[in-house]
């Protein structure tokens, strides 16, 4: 039945419309149920669209009665469907986990507005993944930035306001640069649709080579600021550490990743791989990716706050993705996109379980988390699943992405990058393992003074979403061969 073709549009429209209905509803119970229903339906619709694409192939869906280039269209292919399914699945599990704990995190007055912002946030990211029109993507970028800023400032902490201001200032610089790049590109190609620009860009490169290079540089730096490329990452640690747990899990899980997906679409679908290879951009990506991997891990070792440590680890993982982009062959790109999926589910799991651990220990500093395993064994176990994936233990997705990146760099003849990957894995061990080992195995005598220790301290039902997410982590690792093959097939058509 052809109605399945319109499911990506519904996956974008249903969360937006349910969010618009939220200011009219008075009871918090209904709002949480609405948020859960909207994210569940988005996930189901993206899954059904993926099934249709696997059977029938990619297609374009025109919005309204006008074909491109007069109208906007959605490009629904295997790559976009897998990414959208990942983002909506992570959102569904984060929303399910948050419904019991959101009053403790932000107080009960802000719940309406918070779920409204959350719906707008992930709806705009789903739109950003599917769209085939560059100005439409710009509007979705702005909507997601504003919604994420609102989510960061939801708990009324002084530090989160400064973090949100830093995030907003850096993101606005990025948006200004992207819009300027779009203006240059429109002036030489005359189109705003990604495929039509791709058709015209070969002529434009002959006549206006410098303008194309300027436009490419503006796009890369504008989107790179939002995706936390190395020296421009300074907004990320504050924004992830000082937000409340649900916001950190959601924004770190899917916020910067959708920008990376858009960057891949811009570079490879719009500019084309010959232009990217000719312009020396790959060397920039490799250099900044390696520096990000090293410096992110080095900064993470010196942190005393577990959420800041996880935030710097995110900077390092973004370095892996930029390294994969910079290697330049099909396997490198597929490995980088697989790392996007793996990191998305793993980082959400890590932030949510770190939040439960911090609640059990009474604070976020790492010293207080010693011997927390006695009070929160399930949460620490789930945290260790995520941490082992980040370090690179086989079966888990972190290992598969490091392995694929190594093979890709050997195939491209840049074998020295192997040393960087191995060194950063060792650095990852240095800061992930101590929390687990001290949590489970260190006996700290003064830890339980003055705290009433009851047996059923941890609500078992509350950890169900996290257990499902840990299962998804292991499942992504197990299915990694199929996913990387599918991505390699898609990207070999683009290159």
């Amino acid at each position: 039945m052809e109605y399945i073709k319109s499911f990506p549009v519904f996956a974008l429209l249903i969360p937006l419309m349910l969010s618009f209905a939220m200011p009219l509803i008075k009871s918090d119970r209904t709002i949480k149920n609405l948020a859960l229903i909207s994210s569940a339906s988005s996930m189901a619709l993206c899954g059904l669209a993926l099934k249709y694409v696997i059977e029938h192939g990619a297609y374009k869906y025109k919005m309204g009665h006008f074909e491109a280039p007069l109208g906007i269209e959605f490009q629904v292919g295997m790559f976009e469907c897998i990414m959208a399914l990942t983002f909506t699945a992570v959102t569904f599990l984060v929303v399910m986990h948050s419904s019991g704990r959101i009053e403790k995190e932000i107080g009960s007055r802000n719940i309406q507005i918070y779920y409204l912002l959350m719906n707008i946030f992930y709806a705009s990211l789903v739109g950003m993944v599917f769209t085939n029109d560059i100005f439409n993507a710009f509007v979705f970028i702005e909507v997601s930035t504003l919604a994420a800023c609102g989510m960061v400032v939801a708990n009324s902490d002084g530090r989160s306001i400064v973090a949100a201001i830093k995030y907003l200032v850096y993101s606005s610089i990025g948006s200004g640069l992207v819009l300027m790049g779009m203006a240059f590109l429109y002036s030489i190609t005359g189109n705003l649709n990604i495929e039509f620009i791709n058709a015209e860009i070969a002529n434009a490169w002959q006549e206006y080579e410098k303008v194309v290079l300027i436009s490419m540089a503006l796009f890369v730096f504008g989107l790179g600021i939002k995706a936390a490329i190395f020296p421009l990452h300074v907004w990320m640690p504050d924004a992830y550490a000082y937000a409340n747990n649900t916001s950190s899990a959601l924004i770190s899980g899917i916020g910067a990743k959708a920008i990376i997906v858009l960057l891949v679409k811009v570079l490879y679908s719009m500019f084309g791989s010959e232009l990217v290879a000719q312009s020396g951009l790959l060397k920039v990506f490799t250099a900044l990716g390696v520096m990000g991997m090293m410096m992110g891990s080095v900064f993470a070792i010196f942190q005393s706050d577990i959420k800041r440590m996880l935030a710097y680890s995110s900077v390092a993982q973004m370095g892996y993705i930029f390294l994969g982009l910079g290697i330049g062959n099909v396997l490198g790109l597929a490995a980088a996109m697989f790392h996007v999926i793996g990191h998305s589910v793993t980082k959400a799991l890590l932030f949510m379980s770190a939040g439960r651990l911090a609640e059990g220990a009474g604070g976020v500093s790492i010293e207080k988390l010693e011997s927390v395993g006695a009070r929160r064994p399930v949460s620490l176990g789930l945290y260790s699943v995520g941490a082992l994936s980040m370090i690179g233990i086989p079966i888990l997705p972190g290992f598969v992405s490091k392995w694929s990146l190594s093979i890709a760099s050997i195939e491209a003849g840049k074998g020295l990058l192997l040393a960087a990957i191995i060194l950063s894995s060792i650095l990852n061990c240095v800061y992930y393992l101590p929390v687990i080992i001290k949590g489970y195995f260190k006996k700290s005598e003064g830890a339980f003074d003055g705290i009433k220790f009851t047996r059923r301290e941890e609500s078992q039902i509350g950890t169900l979403p996290l257990v499902v997410l840990a299962g998804i982590v292991i499942g992504v690792g197990a299915l990694s061969g199929d996913i990387i093959n599918a991505f390699s097939f898609e990207f070999s058509k683009l290159m």
Binding site: E142, G150, S172, I173, A183
Partner: protein, 120 residues
């Protein structure tokens, strides 16, 4: 050089973009940062809209009889920048609201003083 003089609107737009960018980065006061952000966004709108001008054609408004499409200037950049202006207004409103909260919490809106207050 004569190309720069022929496209003087775009050159002015790029200079305004630089002015706004530097204001956003260099000043510590939040209100000045917001003003710099607005100048930067306005410069981009000016650049985009100036690219739609074709000399000798008339504005795309139906006065009397409807002409054919080649007698008007390009109306697409103008319509796109309406959306862009709304986005800039929303970002400004959010930044101002955050500045208000910051003033309530810390009593000042200079970012270097706030960072010093937090370190202490």
């Amino acid at each position: 050089m004569e190309r720069l003089i022929a496209n003087y609107v775009e050159v002015c737009a790029i200079m305004l973009f630089g002015v706004g960018f530097m204001t956003l980065l260099m000043h510590n006061n939040m209100i000045k940062k917001i003003i710099g952000l607005n100048i930067m966004d306005t410069a981009v709108f000016l650049f985009f809209i100036a690219k739609g001008y074709i000399s000798g054609k008339q504005a795309p408004i139906v006065v009397g009889k409807l002409e054919e499409a080649s007698a008007y200037i390009n109306p697409v950049p103008t319509s796109l920048m309406l959306t862009g202006i709304v986005v800039a207004v929303s970002t400004t409103a959010l930044a101002l609201a955050l500045t208000l909260r910051l003033h309530q919490k810390y009593g000042t809106i200079e970012l270097d003083e706030i960072i010093r207050l937090r370190e202490a």
